[in-house]
Amino acid sequence: MKVKMNCEEAQELLDAYSLGALEKSEARRVEKHLSRCPSCRPLHEQAVETTALLALAAPLRRASPALRLRLRQRVMPRPALRWFLAPRPSWALAAAALAIISLGALTWGGLLQTQVNNLKADSDRYAVLYDELQRRGDTVDVLQKALTEAAFRQEDIQNALQEQGQAMRVVALSGGGSEDLVGTAPASPASGRYLWSDEEKLGVLFLINLPQLSENGVYQLWLLREGGTPVSGGTFTPQADGSARLMVRTSDLGGTVTGMAITVEPAGGSETPTGEIVLQGLR
């Protein structure tokens, strides 16, 4: 049962988290851990950097020039302002305009002036509205962030309670059965028991007297399937007193489990067993 995600669990999930490949509830647990763990944050940033670089493997394509034009139009100053910023007309044009005016189009000039004044007033009003909208947008961002945080917290607690309930049901019912494990020569004092529930599709492994490992090693549980390759049940490191607990989702294993063993593997675990067996099932 995992009430709080520890650094080891979080670091094991950082790459999948950066790829967006975790299920929502798991991703939120990682996010929650990162929000309170300064030592995992740099590792997360490295994972994000590596993930982002994957983009550079995509074949390079040229975006259409129309896209550049569309963007330019969107970021240019507003039309009303552009009107005032536009270069003044040449003297020749001004003279022509004057000639037209002198022919009796004085009223037209007055109308134009009114329109210019209206445009200027509109422009000022829009600028105020624009600033106001931007300010409100920022407030909404802050509120949205606070609400999301609260929702994450609530979900964390619900997840923890759910996991606790599942583990208790596995221990109380163990409808699938149990299997004892004993340590081999490198870890002979170690022993443990694996209980599982077919109904819950969950297993819980309890171990005691495990020797401590170096920083670069982890214990990895292997579940053996009939006629198949061993499947990882997860990695773990013992507590200071040599005990450990690991939950296994048996629905992820794909096939009937016929036995189990525990090996010592490099940090992060291995795809297939590479280390010596230190505990094995008694089945």
Binding site: E12, D15, A16, S18, L19, G20, A21, L22, E23, E45, Q46, A47, V48, E49, T50, T51, A52, L53, L54, A55, L56, A57, A58, P59, L60, R61, R62, A63, S64, L67, R68, R70, L71, R72, R74, V75, M76, V231, S232, G233, G234, R249, D252, L253, G254, G268, G269, S270, E271
Partner: protein, 197 residues
């Protein structure tokens, strides 16, 4: 970025000139649709324009941030359309030899981020095919580990391990280029725009 914060249109155009095609290529790779990819590019760059302060210089390079934003936006779009690109093993963008996309007939485009692109492609090609495939399904296909396990008919634990080990190897292979690229100076696009954002 300071220029963008002052709403400097020239700075914005320089930024687009430098990274526009890279962001577009990624979006097109994910969505497979020119119009949708252009919409994503437009959204990403307008977001930078409107909220340049959302980019935190302390948290990595501008290019990395732009690509992350674009990738998230493209995957969201892909999900909202209910489309999942079938990303089968063997259809990887890395298969085949020589330049791909529009690079072959556009030297300026081909010169864009040449070293970085080569390093990333080398690192991906160097992975065992099953690790590469799992990573590509997650990154370009937007699939979760569980969805990948179902798609490949493999146990979830195996998929998790493949992704973790594959990404560890990628990080190791790309670690050497990180110090050289801490600055954005050499990330000059086909527009030939110099300077730093």
């Amino acid at each position: 970025m300071a220029q963008l914060c002052r709403q400097d249109v020239d700075a914005f155009e320089a930024l687009y000139g430098r990274y526009g095609n890279v962001v577009y290529s990624l979006s097109l790779r994910i969505l497979g649709d020119v119009q949708a990819a252009e919409d994503v590019v437009q959204d990403v760059f307008l977001r930078v324009w409107r909220k340049p302060d959302h980019y935190d210089t302390a948290r990595g390079r501008l290019l990395t941030w732009l690509l992350s934003v674009a990738r998230n936006r493209a995957i969201d779009e892909q999900r909202s359309r209910g489309r999942r690109q079938r990303f089968e093993v063997g259809s990887s963008p890395l298969d085949g030899e020589g330049p791909q996309g529009d690079e072959a007939d556009d030297p300026a485009l081909a010169a864009l981020l040449t070293d970085e692109r080569s390093a990333v492609r080398r690192a991906l090609v160097g992975l065992p095919p099953e690790q590469r495939s799992a990573i590509e399904l997650a990154y370009y296909g937007g699939l979760t580990q569980q969805e990948i396990a179902r798609a490949l008919d493999e146990p979830l634990g195996t998929v998790k391990t493949r992704i973790r080990l594959g990404m560890q190897k990628m990080r190791g292979a790309l670690a050497d280029m990180r110090p050289r690229h801490e600055g954005e100076d050499e990330l000059r696009g086909s527009s030939g725009t110099a300077g730093r954002l």
